[in-house]
Amino acid sequence: MDTTSYSLEWQDLTLWRGERCLQQGLKGKLASGQAITLKGPNGCGKTTLLRTLCGLSQPETGKVLWQGKQIHKIRNKFHAHLAYSGHNNGLKRDLSTRENLRFAARLRGRHTNQNELLNGLRLTACADLPVRNLSAGQQRRASLALILGSGAEFWVLDEPFTNLDRSGCEWLARRCNDHLGMGGLLLTAGHQDSLLNPERETIIELAGAN
């Protein structure tokens, strides 16, 4: 993780689902070392906003800028710094965790030391089992291993603390704080009260769509 400072900015985003307008005129900025947690009732567009800021979905109006440039113009450069973990965990169910991690790392051209990562997530025991046989908590931790192994500066986690036990949550909160400490950016959506340290984190409350 180099030390240049990164920034993500979005201006007057309008988010739609079907005929319903979820959010209007959203504006915000995320700089290095900062975290933003989105809170709000179900169906208010948290996930849609996360996916829009990653470039997965197109906003109805408005722009999303990474380092001042629109993300759909600099897609590959932007994705080099991005790691996204959505509701489904992004792992092939027939391959083992180790094979999934190796594929993801080599796709990004990185050679992470997997054992240290797997030990941290207490997954070494079941690392060679197909993901299909892992429990929901283990699958969640395996998908978090994807994020940690990616070495990306900008983490986007959609409800990271679901299916995690107490020790898992603390472990993840510690790693997130280290990430922020090293100048990384973090964007999460979730319901539990956040375990991140307060002074780096801003909480955005999204109003429920009418």
């Binding site: 979905s57 991005l82 092939k92 796709l107 051209g109």
Partner: protein
């Protein structure tokens, strides 16, 4: 870029061989469809010889359609399609790799098994190589067009009928030239004309379809 291309292909092949039942399904379907024709039309050798090449091509087309349902649906459900869309490599190349892997996994076994089926239609032995050649030249276009159809319906859960409706009108030129070339092969004449047209269609599909597939996947992920 090339490394990512090989990476995706090797992962797809690794996955396919791990679940060989999905591998065998299109081939078995292909054999069954080819077996139906003699049962429906009767053993009259003259008729069977006449409809043989065409029947084999129709069966190959239907077997491809069958295997397209799960091409992107699984990746859409388990989130790997999102990871591919958010990777540093261009999505077009990665999806082309997936389509090539689909072609290897589904079409090559079909081509490998055609000699067995030509016995069923009592086609002359020397016609078999020509028939396999036409399948070799035509099936890439089927897979590429099929991947566009599969990407368009990745988000839908019971879309097998829809994919067939979307694709069949588009694959008609391939079927016409393929069946015609196979017919010439079976009757021992030179198959150069339609074979070149078939190859041309495959090259055209190779240049245009990956971009349509990437755009369709981005729409399905929206």
């Amino acid at each position: 870029m090339l490394q990512a291309f090989q990476l995706v292909i090797s992962r797809e092949l690794q996955m396919a061989f791990r679940r060989w039942s999905d591998l065998a399904l299109p081939v078995i379907f292909f054999m069954i469809v080819c077996m139906l024709f003699p049962l429906a039309v009767g053993q009259d050798q003259a008729i069977l010889q006449k409809i043989g090449p065409g029947a084999i091509w129709v069966a190959a087309l239907l077997a491809t359609l069958l295997s397209l349902n799960t091409l992107y649906r699984e990746d859409f459900d388990d989130g790997t399609l999102e990871q591919l869309a958010l990777s540093t490599q261009p999505l077009t190349i990665l999806l082309l790799a997936k389509t090539v892997a689909h072609w290897i996994v589904t079409e090559l076994p079909l081509i490998a098994i055609t000699p067995l089926l030509t016995l069923g239609f009592n086609l002359p032995a020397e016609g078999v190589y020509g028939l396999m050649l036409t399948l070799l030249a035509g099936t890439p276009a089927l897979s590429l067009l099929g991947s566009v159809g599969a990407a368009l319906t990745a988000g839908l859960h019971q879309a097998s009928g829809l994919i067939a409706l979307l694709l069949l009108p588009l694959t008609i030129p391939i079927l016409i030239f393929g069946a015609r070339a196979a017919d010439l092969a079976a009757s021992g004449q030179s198959i150069a004309g339609p074979l070149y047209l078939l190859g041309g269609l495959s090259v055209l599909a190779l240049t245009l379809c990956p971009f349509a597939t990437a755009a369709a996947v981005r729409v399905s992920l929206d």
